[in-house]
């Protein structure tokens, strides 16, 4: 039989809270250390213990990181999803299943490897058999696929850092799994793991941790947050790094952390911080942003720097709290009542999570306005390969803050909202400075900051705000373009779709269609996006949502002659984007376009 090396998808079905996450991460880490391009997606429920959870491991020498279009190897531990998981398999798939689960193998067209996982686990320690069961299947898989024992043991050591007992126990369990397969079963599937040499050493890290680290290097001074999945690990990441990076020898810190009573308060706190001249941020998800709308409008209208990270989960309402989506785009861009427009930074890679983490503060202070980071659950909570973080290549930009009286007095005329430079960005003084004391307000105001309902004052203020944010377009991160020469079709996409785009591209190319790619990295959109669309006969806007929110923004902002060139492909079912689905939708849309 021919072997299939490093090109298959493993699906591991377990129950939440049984320790399967550690086992799965050990599997992922050991594959990664063998140099195999691999990605892991944790499909977990909104629950602490007992509900079904799946972990999808994709091995791909092409570097594909999306979940595959099918499962090649199924691990069955959880009786609750047993039949559903079994039935969804294609004939010839491999099934590694727990013989002690009191469930039947109902398929005779699959390669079946029954393993008494619970019984083996009980041999080690009956009290924690449930936890050990999971590491047994990793041992079995290691034997079937040829995963290096040394790498496995290193991964165990990494997972349980210094906990000798746990390390010993897990290594024993791995051995039991391996030995059981060796002694009782024989390999009849084609899947193998082959070591690869990676010229550039990489490590695995979650997007949220990268954002957290970026914020620390952005000089965050106040983290105000309210716990919400899937954003909490940004806040927890910052909290974890503060002792090492932002604390002096006396144990005092330059970054305050307040766990707020709710998202409204978190937003209020970071506006207070911005008003006082500091760098305040919060991390939340869609429901939190919904609650923060009132303050977002105040931040825009009173021109207060503030940074909001939104790790998008599936909406509307509570939605699917542990699934991924790109559905907060419009809410961020046009947040709060009245006419507003906000700066949104959209990372698509781990490095960008870090980079936009620190840049967000610079933009917020430069443009004196709320700035959003838009990540999502897939990017934020799954582990991604990273070569390392690059130190900020620019000094911190604190924006137009007048700190010295000499500077202040040199102004011919001064007003908090006076457009002195003609770029829509006024100068500000800070509380406590004694310069230009004003009462900031969310009510209408004139260029001096005084209350005003005068038509002219309101009109001019709103026009200046528009000019200010519009002026940010080409100063924000430019789109990433991958253009084929003389190519008629362009794809505009954003964020974590980056991990799927290459596979989509390859599928399309196999059908004879070449496309160019443009990844939007910020709102308002860079003029290069418009130029990209102009250069192509047709552009498809690809997003992980139902309504095509980015497409909607483009339709609103593009000149009339370009609007008809743009089509929407939007799809979302909560699972990270699978290339096959989007490629097919693109093909369908192109077909429609021909008619």
């Amino acid at each position: 039989m021919d072997t299939i090396a490093n090109d298959f998808t493993i699906n591991i079905a377990t129950a939440n809270g049984t320790g399967s996450q550690s086992a799965n991460l050990i599997l992922l880490q050991s594959l990664f250390e063998m140099g195999v391009p691999v990605s892991g997606k944790n499909m977990f429920p909104s629950n602490i213990s007992g509900l079904p959870t799946w972990y999808i491991v994709r091995l791909s020498d092409h570097g594909y990181q999306a979940p595959g279009n099918r499962t090649h190897i199924q691990v069955l531990v959880n009786p609750a999803t047993w039949h559903e998981d079994l039935e969804s398999l294609e004939p010839g798939s491999v099934v590694i299943w727990n013989e002690n689960a009191k469930m039947e193998m109902t398929r005779d067209d699959v390669i079946s490897y029954p393993v008494p996982m619970s019984a083996l686990a009980r041999k080690i320690n009956p009290k924690i058999a449930k936890l050990v069961t999971n590491i047994i299947y990793v041992g079995v898989m290691a034997e079937i696929l040829g995963i290096d024992q040394a790498e496995l043991e290193a991964a165990v050591a990494k997972q349980f850092k210094g906990k000798t007992k746990a390390i010993e126990l897990n290594v024993t369990a791995l051995g039991l799994g391996r030995d059981y397969f060796k002694e009782n079963l024989s390999k009849s599937d084609p899947y193998v793991v082959e070591r690869r040499v990676n010229d550039k050493p990489q490590f695995f890290i979650e997007g949220n941790e990268a954002v957290a680290l970026g914020c620390i290097y952005g000089g965050v001074q106040l983290l105000a947050w309210y716990p919400i999945t899937p954003s909490s690990s940004i806040a927890e990441g910052i909290i974890n790094y503060i002792p090492q990076l932002r604390t002096d020898e006396d144990g005092n810190t330059t970054c305050a952390v307040v766990q707020a009573e709710d998202e409204l308060a978190a937003a209020g706190m970071i506006l207070g911080a911005g008003w006082a001249g500091g760098r305040g941020m919060t991390a939340t998800s869609g429901p939190g942003i919904s609650l923060m709308q009132e303050f977002i409008g105040l931040g825009y209208f009173a021109e207060i720097p503030s940074v909001f990270w939104d790790v998008n989960r599936v909406g509307p309402s509570t939605g699917l709290p542990t699934r991924t989506q790109q559905s907060d785009i419009t809410m961020l861009y046009e947040g709060s009542h009245g006419d507003t427009q906000h700066i949104v930074l959209i990372p698509g890679t781990i490095q960008e999570c870090f980079e936009f983490g620190w840049r967000a503060f610079d933009y917020a202070e430069r443009f004196q306005t709320p700035v959003f980071g838009l990540s999502d659950l897939d990017l934020g909570m799954n582990r991604w390969a990273c070569e390392g973080f690059e130190y900020p290549d620019q000094e911190m930009d604190r924006g137009k803050v007048v700190r010295d009286r000499d500077v202040f007095e040199a102004f011919e005329d001064f007003g908090r909202y006076l457009d002195i430079d003609g770029d829509g960005i006024p100068y500000r003084t800070l509380p406590g400075s004694g310069m230009d004391p004003i009462l900031y307000r969310g009510t209408g105001h004139n260029s001096k900051g005084a209350y005003s309902e005068k038509p002219h004052d309101y009109y001019e203020l709103m026009q200046r705000l528009k000019r200010k944010i519009d002026g940010a377009r080409d100063l924000l991160p430019a789109p990433i373009l991958r253009e084929e020469t003389e190519c008629e079709i362009g794809i505009v996409y954003l964020g974590s779709m980056e991990t799927t785009i290459q596979e989509i591209d390859d599928i399309l190319e196999a059908t004879g269609i070449k496309v160019s790619q443009c990844r939007v990295r910020a709102l308002p959109m860079h003029s290069e996006v418009e130029n990209f669309i102009r250069r192509h006969e047709m552009t498809i806007v690809l997003e992980i949502n139902r309504d095509g929110q980015l497409y909607g923004i483009l339709r609103k902002e593009l000149p009339n002659d370009l609007i008809t060139k743009v089509r929407s492909v939007a799809y979302s079912d909560g699972i990270p984007p699978r290339a096959g689905i989007y490629a097919q939708l693109i093909l369908d849309t192109l077909k429609e376009g021909e008619l």
Binding site: Y217, T253, Y440
Partner: protein
């Protein structure tokens, strides 16, 4: 040229900073003539002036409502933030983390504090944030034209509509139960008491709540109202006479006989002297304070004075473990860790 002799210039009174009172005034009020809130604004002006506070070191915070407009009418040399309805505590908390050395004076109303913003008030108290929080409490919503608020007393009747039958929220009782470290009630018509309480609150480290009954002359100053000027004057129970002795003036000789007063030393070394009127009130006794509030409510009275005081709790700045200088003054080079630290992190992640 006129022959009439020049009037001798009257010496302008200066405070301990050599500042005239004018340095503490604000813009012209747009509230209804006679509004209790304007009297409170005047007391804030006097208190800040007499306490010798640098005007630019004050931050004026407010939410939304008649009360929340008043920061425009005092301390014109201070920055301020008229935020959104009920959310002033959170904005103040954020500002405070960045500049803990300013004196935060929050002014709120009963709609702002007892309804839409009650959660934020509660949590600001819980954190013992350093601020003076004044509730200008009139029992009605003024700007929306006279609906009852959550502090309207049972049986009280505003100018229009039926008497209120819903249980009121007593913000002082709430604050005491939450462990608030300075809780007082006063009346906008009792200038002397209000002034000494506000001055004492300015000297307090921690959260100081002063609930000030401040009659609404337009919607709730009729005879059947329990928050009218007339009713409060008739039905005020004063716990004690209050005198404030600033730290820059030595404590004067005792004017009242020994045993008839209680001196409380405040964080900055100033003193508030509570002189017994009839029975002595012990402000360190939360149960006694709650009993006084409860009895007054039962008798349809308003009890005023320093209800509760506690100097033993750490304030938010201490809890946060911040560096000594306000975060706003920390230089960029300190805020952004050096490049070597990131090299180390990269190396650790690679290992």
């Amino acid at each position: 040229m006129s022959d009439t002799p020049k009037k001798p210039a009257r010496a302008i009174k200066l405070n301990v900073l050599n500042e005239p009172k004018d340095s503490y005034t604000g813009g012209k009020s747009s509230l209804c003539p006679g509004c209790g809130h304007d009297q409170i604004s005047n007391v804030i002006i006097s208190a800040a002036w007499e306490n010798g506070i640098e005007p630019h070191r004050v931050a004026k915070m407010s939410g939304i409502g008649c009360s929340s407009k008043t920061p425009a009418y005092y301390l014109g040399q201070s920055h301020g933030f008229n935020t959104v309805h009920g959310r002033m505590p959170s904005v103040t908390t954020g500002a405070y983390t960045i500049n803990k050395d300013l004196l935060y004076i929050g002014v709120s109303g009963d709609g702002d504090s007892a309804s839409i913003g009650i959660g934020q008030l509660i949590h600001a108290i819980r954190r013992n944030m350093d601020m003076l929080y004044i509730v200008e409490n009139n029992g009605v919503y003024g700007l929306t034209k006279g609906q009852y608020s959550a502090t309207a007393d049972i049986g009280s009747k505003k100018k229009k509509g039926a008497p209120n039958q819903t249980q009121p929220i007593d913000l002082c009782a709430l604050a005491i139960n939450l462990g608030c470290t300075f809780v007082a009630r006063s009346f906008s018509g009792s200038k002397k008491q209000l002034a000494s309480l506000i001055k004492a609150a300015m000297s307090h480290k921690g959260f100081a709540l002063i609930d000030v009954i401040s009659p609404c002359v337009t919607f709730n100053n009729n005879d059947e109202s329990m928050r009218s000027y007339g009713y409060v004057k008739e039905n005020e129970i004063t716990l004690h006479m209050t005198d404030y002795i600033p730290h820059f003036n030595p404590v004067e000789e005792v004017e009242v006989p020994e045993g008839h007063f209680r001196d409380i030393t405040l964080h900055d070394g100033s003193t508030i002297r509570l002189e017994t009127i009839s029975a002595e009130h012990d402000p360190s006794n939360a149960v006694a304070a709650l009993a006084a509030l409860h009895n007054a409510e039962t008798d349809k009275k308003h009890v005023t004075g320093l209800l509760y005081f506690d100097s033993s709790k750490p304030s938010l700045a201490e809890d946060l473990g911040l560096v000594d200088i306000p975060l706003v003054d920390v230089p960029n080079e300190v805020l952004r860790p050096q490049k070597e630290t990131l090299d180390k992190i990269n190396a650790a992640l690679h290992s």
